[in-house]
Each structure stands twice: as structure tokens, then as C-alpha cells.
């Protein structure tokens, strides 16, 4: 698939994704900003497996910026999302606290999982691939592992309250 085609389809998906958190207009804006960043800064990236995670990362950041902006509306010191850029890797106090809370919730939720799920997550966090996990756990087929993982993830998400991160 060509880069332009991938970008066109990604744009459509990003609008849909942002629209269930923001208004339709704001979602269009987010998608447009993501496309601009991809175009200006990542012009050389053309593979789907690179473009999709990148676009999700940018979209998430832009959405967070918009949500924060709307929360601050009415205050004199508004921050335009146009001035926000991709995270530079350094900790931002707000992100730091959110991540810390999320980590603690994850730790608590994982401790309530069953043995098999805990073992599955442990292997995944160690960087094992699904075929490797299949061998280690002695499962008959890779589909069994996919199914176990789906159920475990679902259970973990339930224990986390239905969302990985707190409401922004």
C-alpha cells in the first residue's frame, strides 16, 4: 500500500477515534494536525507498521492537549495546541502523575489476576513473542495463546475500571 493511501485511510480512522472523545469539528482538527506532523516531520516514514503507531501517538497527544485546553477555557493563560509538539521524552509533572497512578492501578489489578494470566503477562513483559509463549506454556496451538491473552487482557481492563488511563 502506498504512503498516500495509508495516510488517507489513517486520517479517516483518526477522525473516528477522536470523535468519540471530542466534537466532530475538533476531531477533524486533530486528524488534520496529525497529518501535518506526519507530513512535515516524518516524510520519510512510509510503512504502515511505522505510520500507524506514530499517528496514534501524535493523535493521543493532540487529543490530550485539546482536552486540557477545554478544561482551561476561561482562564487567562490559555495554551494553544498549535504550540504543543510531540513529547520530548522529558517528564511533565502532569504526565508523570498520571503515569504513576496508572502504574499503581496496573500493579494492583495484575495482583488480582489468576495464575495463568499473571504468567502470560510476565512473559510478555519479558519481551517474549506469542510463539515463544506458546512453547513455554505448552499450548497446543498459537490460537490458544491468542485466546488466553484476549481473555486476560479483558479481565485486566475490567479490573482497571474499563480504561487503561484515568479520564483526562
Amino acid at each position: 500500500m502506498e504512503r498516500e493511501e495509508i495516510l488517507a485511510r489513517l486520517r479517516e480512522r483518526i477522525v473516528g477515534y477522536a470523535a468519540y472523545r471530542l466534537s466532530r469539528d475538533a476531531a477533524e482538527d486533530v486528524a488534520q494536525e496529525v497529518m501535518m506532523v506526519l507530513h512535515e516531520k516524518y516524510g520519510s516514514v512510509s510503512l504502515l507498521e511505522d505510520l500507524l503507531p506514530l499517528s496514534l501517538q501524535i493523535a493521543r497527544f493532540k487529543i490530550a492537549g485539546m482536552v486540557r485546553k477545554s478544561m482551561r477555557r476561561g482562564e487567562p493563560a490559555q495554551v494553544s495546541t498549535d504550540e504543543l509538539d510531540l513529547p520530548d521524552g522529558r517528564a511533565n509533572p502532569s504526565d508523570y502523575v498520571e503515569r504513576k497512578e496508572m502504574l499503581e492501578k496496573l500493579v494492583a489489578a495484575m495482583s488480582r489476576l489468576g495464575d495463568r494470566c499473571r504468567e502470560l503477562f510476565r512473559l510478555k513483559l519479558q519481551g517474549r513473542s506469542f510463539p515463544e509463549i506458546q512453547k513455554i506454556l505448552g499450548a497446543g496451538s498459537i490460537n490458544t495463546i491468542y485466546t488466553w491473552d484476549l481473555r486476560c487482557r479483558k479481565r485486566l481492563l475490567e479490573l482497571m475500571g474499563g480504561r487503561w488511563e484515568g479520564s483526562r
Binding site: 495509508i6 485511510r9 489513517l10 480512522r13 473516528g16 477515534y17 468519540y20 516531520k41 504502515l48 507498521e49 500507524l52 503507531p53 496514534l56 501517538q57 493523535a59 493521543r60 509538539d85 520530548d88 503515569r99 496508572m102 502504574l103 496496573l106 500493579v107 495484575m110 495482583s111 495464575d115 499473571r118 504468567e119 503477562f121 510476565r122 510478555k124 513483559l125 519479558q126 519481551g127 517474549r128 513473542s129 506469542f130 510463539p131 515463544e132 509463549i133 490460537n143 491468542y146 485466546t147 491473552d149 484476549l150 486476560c152 487482557r153 480504561r163 487503561w164 488511563e165
Partner: protein, 402 residues
């Protein structure tokens, strides 16, 4: 793959568990399905959290050790020293209790006999003394520490002597043999699948120094890192190959590093024209594996050689912190008029210095099919021989293909 089938792969996205084929299938399905794309978007927060090595380590600690089969757990319990100590202690306690009870039971009888016969009178104080021993054993914790017995003194003397001998051996040992010339090392690299020591071969003198260092230097002061060369297999997975293996044109390579303590890792990739660029730079956590670069190095052409320079240091390396990374250069583009040539020269100079540094004070042991190590393990352990809190590991990793 249908969206509902691809959805089963969602759990592998955040943890980086997916193979290339699985990622491709998931992403393709996400482009076709808004629901799946939204789910992926929600996973992004978890993915970013799990990309932080500290968070990953915290979760792994919370998840604890692997659950092993009952038989293995029982076997492990029986082989634990504390188990034997506990069993020995319990046996000794039972024996003492039996002796005490027997003494108490026999004492009145002995006392009665003592009234009748003069010589048995001695046995009463003996019995009382035994009781005192038993009762005293309970209060042993409250007693002051026992003075050094002759046996303890001997042990101390022997240990002191051993330390003196080792220190003398270290002083008298010749300096480490110089590393072989670069040409010779290149020849060594050309041997297919043959495991040999890396850039600084472990000469007997060095090994001796290492052994002495092992004894004299506390382990905490020595610094080490493990690395393995990973080659992408046809199924998309990466498999470790012998670190000195001659690779093939078209191979896609990554290198996994695992430091033995927290610190800073810098990895530079150089080409035949001696141009260097960062492929990794950042803080690393002990016992975590870092596979770099994010995109594999493609060995193009029928034959060639590329080099990786890895620096592992407990504190930031000033000469490398100043040089901008590719990502930083992207951010700075248009804002800072930094000459590309100056960057290249700066990195080239740093790389030359590092290559010189990498040729000394290192002990490198490759493990593989023909060398000792864990079964099936392929990798290399690099230890800085010069101890001290500021010491660092600088290792050059050649990637040779034919």
C-alpha cells in the same frame, strides 16, 4: 485476517509481543475497522507506559517469579540450604528435648540412690549441670558474643594470608597483553560461526588479572554488560547468533544489550566511510534488555563490514551527551543553524577516541555453541577490568557479512 481474529492480537501491541507478521495483520485490520482502530488508540497509553523500563520492571517485580510445576517447586525446596538448616535445627532441638526429659525423669531416682551410696552423690550436680545446659541454650541469644576461639582465629589468619597472597599476585602479575592488531581481529571475524574472544581477546595474563580482580575488587565496583547479535528470521522473529558469526548480505540485524546495573547506554553505528550516528542513547536499567536500533540494520550488498560502538557508563558521558541525536536533529531543524558537517566531525572524533578506549581494560567472553554458557545461549559478556565507580565499558562490535 478478519477484524475479530486480529482483535485477539491487541494484547500484544502494548507489550511489544507481536512479530512483524502479527503487527502487519493487526494494523491492516485496524485500517479496515474503526472499532479496532479505537481499541488500538486506547492501548497507546499502556504502550507508552510499558516503554518505560522502570515501569516494566515494577510490574515484573509485582508479578513475581515464574510459577513452576509442583515437582520442581518441591525439589527446589528440598535443595534449599535454609531447608536443611531448618531440618537440622529441628532435629537438634528434638534431641536436646529428649535428653532434658530423660535427665529430669532420672534425677529423682539418682537422688534416691545418692542418699544410699556416697559415690552417686556426684551424679546429682552433673544432672543439675545438664539441666543448666538445656535451659542455658534457650538464653543463648542474650549472652555476650563468644570470644574468638582458636579455630576462628585460624580462619581469620588464613583469610588474611590469602588476601596478602592475592594482592602480591596482582602486584607481580605482568600488565595485560596488548590486543592483537586490527587486521588480525578482522581475520578472526571472518571465521564462520566460530566463537572467539572479541576485540580484546582474553589472554592468560588478563584472565589472571580478572581472577585477581574478581577476588580483590568488590563485584559492585566492576561494570559489565551482556550483548547478543540478533538476526531476523524469515518468520519475522529475531534469533541470537554467535557474536562472531559471519553474516550474510541482506540480513536484518539488531543487537540486544543487557547491563548489570543502572546507567547510561550509548550506541553508535559506523559505516565503511567512518561516518557515525547514534542508534541509541539513554538511561538503562539493570537486567533489562534493550534491542537497538528500533529498525534493524540491513546488511546491504554481497559483502561488507559495519561497526557498532557501545558505551555503558554509570553516569552520562559528556563527550556523547553534547552530540545531537537524529531525533533531536529533527526537532532542531530550522531552529538552530547547526552545521551537519560539524556534527559528523564531532561524532567521528568521539568514535575514534572510543575505539581506542575499547581496545584496553576489557574482558570479553563470547558464549555460544562451542563455548561455556547456558544451553543454547549466544552472546558476549563484557566486563571493565579497571575497577572504580567511574569506570565504563566501551566495546566495539563488528558486523561482518559475506
Amino acid at each position: 485476517m478478519k477484524p475479530e481474529d486480529a482483535a485477539r492480537l491487541l494484547g500484544g501491541y502494548a507489550t511489544g509481543t507481536l512479530t512483524d507478521a502479527e503487527r502487519q495483520a493487526l494494523f491492516q485490520a485496524a485500517l479496515d475497522s474503526q472499532e479496532l482502530f479505537n481499541a488500538l488508540g486506547d492501548e497507546q497509553a499502556l504502550k507508552e507506559l510499558l516503554e518505560d523500563p522502570a515501569a516494566r520492571r515494577r510490574l515484573l517485580e509485582a508479578l513475581g517469579e515464574a510459577r513452576r510445576p509442583l515437582f520442581e517447586r518441591a525439589a527446589a525446596w528440598f535443595t534449599r540450604p535454609s531447608t536443611w538448616a531448618l531440618a537440622g535445627g529441628a532435629t537438634a532441638a528434638v534431641l536436646l528435648a529428649v535428653i532434658a526429659v530423660r535427665s529430669l525423669v532420672e534425677m529423682p531416682r539418682k537422688q534416691a540412690i545418692a542418699l544410699k551410696t556416697a559415690e552417686t552423690a556426684v551424679s546429682v550436680p552433673q544432672a543439675v549441670e545438664k539441666r543448666d545446659v538445656v535451659v542455658g541454650a534457650k538464653d543463648e541469644r542474650r549472652l555476650p558474643p563468644a570470644p574468638a576461639t582458636p579455630a576462628r582465629k585460624d580462619v581469620q589468619r588464613i583469610r588474611q594470608k590469602e588476601t596478602e597472597v592475592r594482592a602480591a599476585a596482582e602486584f607481580a602479575s605482568p600488565p595485560p597483553a596488548p590486543p592483537p592488531p586490527a587486521e588480525e581481529r578482522a581475520n578472526l571475524a571472518a571465521r564462520q560461526e566460530q566463537v572467539v574472544p572479541m576485540a580484546a581477546p582474553a589472554q592468560p595474563a588478563e584472565l589472571k588479572s580478572a581472577v585477581v580482580a574478581d577476588v580483590v575488587t568488590p563485584a559492585a565496583e566492576r561494570r559489565g554488560i551482556r550483548y547478543s547479535v540478533l538476526r531476523q528470521e524469515p518468520d519475522g522473529r529475531y534469533a541470537a547468533v554467535n557474536p562472531r558469526a559471519v553474516l550474510q548480505g541482506g540480513d536484518r540485524i539488531r543487537v540486544a544489550f543487557e547491563p548489570d546495573e543502572d546507567g547510561h547506554l550509548y550506541v553508535l553505528l559506523g559505516d565503511s566511510a567512518d561516518h557515525w550516528r547514534f542508534v541509541f542513547r539513554g538511561r538503562v536499567e539493570q537486567r533489562m534488555q534493550y534491542s537497538v536500533p528500533a529498525e534493524p540494520i540491513v546488511l546491504e550488498g554481497p559483502a561488507g563490514e559495519r561497526r557498532l560502538l557501545a558505551v555503558f557508563s554509570p553516569s552520562p558521558a559528556p563527550e556523547l551527551e553534547g552530540a545531537p541525536s537524529t531525533a533531536a536533529a529533527v526537532r532542531l531543524r530550522g531552529l538552530v543553524a547547526r552545521s551537519k558537517r560539524a556534527e559528523t566531525t564531532e561524532l567521528k572524533r568521539a568514535a575514534a577516541e572510543l575505539r581506542r578506549e575499547s581496545e584496553s581494560d576489557l574482558l570479553i567472553e563470547a558464549v555460544g555453541e562451542t563455548a561455556p554458557g547456558k544451553p543454547g545461549e549466544k552472546g558476549a559478556y563484557v566486563v571493565a577490568l579497571r575497577p572504580g565507580p567511574g569506570s565504563r565499558v566501551v566495546v566495539e562490535i563488528p558486523l561482518v557479512w559475506r
